[in-house]
């Protein structure tokens, strides 16, 4: 019996989707295999890092697909014991790789997190970076600061608003169901949104899920509270 209000996981709602996933893996990632574990689909195996037909490296990874796959990003762990579980290597305490500030993932992949896009996008970028770190180099595209500071850096780069109190204002704005163009722009210019940062703010509002905004808002709020 199905309880009301309980949404079935994607692979139960769409069995063809699971076969399509397995087909994609067989065709493009033959050393990755999808299986059900604890009510979720987990993709496990090795992901090669190749460039111009040459395999440069490979990682043993485990990708746990969310219940609403491919609508939101998966979580990924490196399970070969290679990447130390520490903040400076961008591995969360639960072992998941911290690929990017969540907003960055949502803006760049526009909510399309199919396995191919996910692996070829943020996962591949992260693992290439890690391989370079292991060779004594730096993260090729830079790295975000930890926690709220990293979130603020993202908004600085994406919108031009990076000072924590202004980011807090921006997030408060983004958290509203609707944004009005006549509101004062959170950047502190004194102008209204319509005449200031209209385009990036409206883009963010359209693409970012409410829970992502709320999470960042709480993170930045806590950080400001800690420093006040």
């Amino acid at each position: 019996m199905v309880r009301r209000g309980v949404k079935l996981p994607w692979f139960i709602r769409e069995p063809d989707g699971l076969e399509a996933l397995r087909s994609t893996l067989r065709a493009k990632y033959p050393t990755l295999h999808a299986d059900e574990a604890n009510g979720r689909i987990v993709v496990l195996g090795s992901l090669p890092i190749s460039h111009q037909g040459t395999e440069l490296d490979w990682y043993l990874i485990e990708v746990a697909l969310p219940d609403d796959y491919p609508a939101s990003p998966a979580s990924v762990r490196e399970v070969g014991g290679r990447i130390p579980c520490m903040a400076d290597r961008h591995v969360n305490p639960d072992g998941t790789l911290c690929l990017a500030v969540p907003e960055e993932m949502w803006i760049k992949w526009k909510g399309k997190f199919d396995i191919g896009s996910f692996l070829e996008g943020p996962v591949r970028t992260f693992l290439i970076g890690n391989s370079l770190i292991e060779h004594g180099k730096e993260w090729p595209h830079g790295e975000r600061s930890h926690g709220a500071a990293g979130v603020c850096e993202f908004y600085r780069d994406a919108v031009g608003i990076g000072e924590p109190n202004q980011v807090l204002q921006l997030l408060g704005c983004l958290a509203k169901e609707r944004i009005k163009g006549h509101w004062v722009c959170p950047c502190g210019s004194g102008r209204i949104i319509r005449n200031c940062h209209r385009e990036p703010i409206f883009e963010m509002h359209a693409k970012l899920p409410p829970d992502v905004i709320k999470y960042s808002l709480n993170l930045v709020l806590k950080e400001i509270g800690n420093h006040s």
């Binding site: 195996g45 440069l56 485990e62 090729p140 930890h146």
Partner: protein, 298 residues
Amino acid sequence: MTPNDYLAALLKSQDLKSDGEELKALQSARADVEEALRADFSDCTPSIRYGGSKAKGTMILDDYDLDVICYFPHDDTSAGATLEDIYKNVRSSLEEDGYVVTQRTTALRLRDKEGGDFHIDVVPGRFTDATKTDTYLHQNGGSKKFLKTNIQTHIDHVAKSGHTDIIRLMKIWRRRNGISIKTFPMELLIIEVLKGSKAQGLDGRLTRVFSEFRDNIHDYAIEDPANPTGNDLSDLLNDGVRASLTAGATSTLQTVEASGWDVVFGAVEATSESHKVAALAAAAVHAPTPTRPWFDAA
């Protein structure tokens, strides 16, 4: 390059070179462990030697570790009255020596205080009699608290099977495909599959193994060559493990048919460090939508 040539080159690339950093580090770590054990148990004169893949000739670079066997005389209880006491006392002494020790089924895995892996498992046990051939090992979990085995029988069974090369290839495959099966049952299964087979060469025998895994996995049973009636290995090759082998083998054979072994196992061309770094940097530059890693400090 023919399939056999490719597989031979792959095996060569997986050798731990005698002058390589990995083997030097292992040997150094093993020497330290042996010194510590002999000092801690100076009253008992334990027998300490290599076991596992080093002794069997099946080590691979992708996934190596060293089994250090530490067996005590049958009539000496100074290391512990019971097998469990021996196991716990060896664990305690290694911890006092500064190792971070993790319990496994019969072994003790060693790490350093920073979490670095020494790639060493210490296997404590006691000989059953003065011949120093069979041993009793304490077992964590499972239906029995101890098992009786013979390390030399295991080593000979694998090392003299004529199939250590296929075992090594399958260990590489297991690692790269995230297949969950312990090494010992996999070795036994491979030897069973290839017993009496007319398949030749690396390509032929490897294909045979994958084909049998795909088509006839349930036809095979394994038993401990050192104690076939006493040690039940069925749980090591349960239905879940068999299903995983079948699924992996099916996918692999499809890939080999379509694209060859190198897509299954990856490249084996030697690439200099500088070339690899340059290529990685180029790959990074070509990322269409680069992202910056973060850390959620919450």
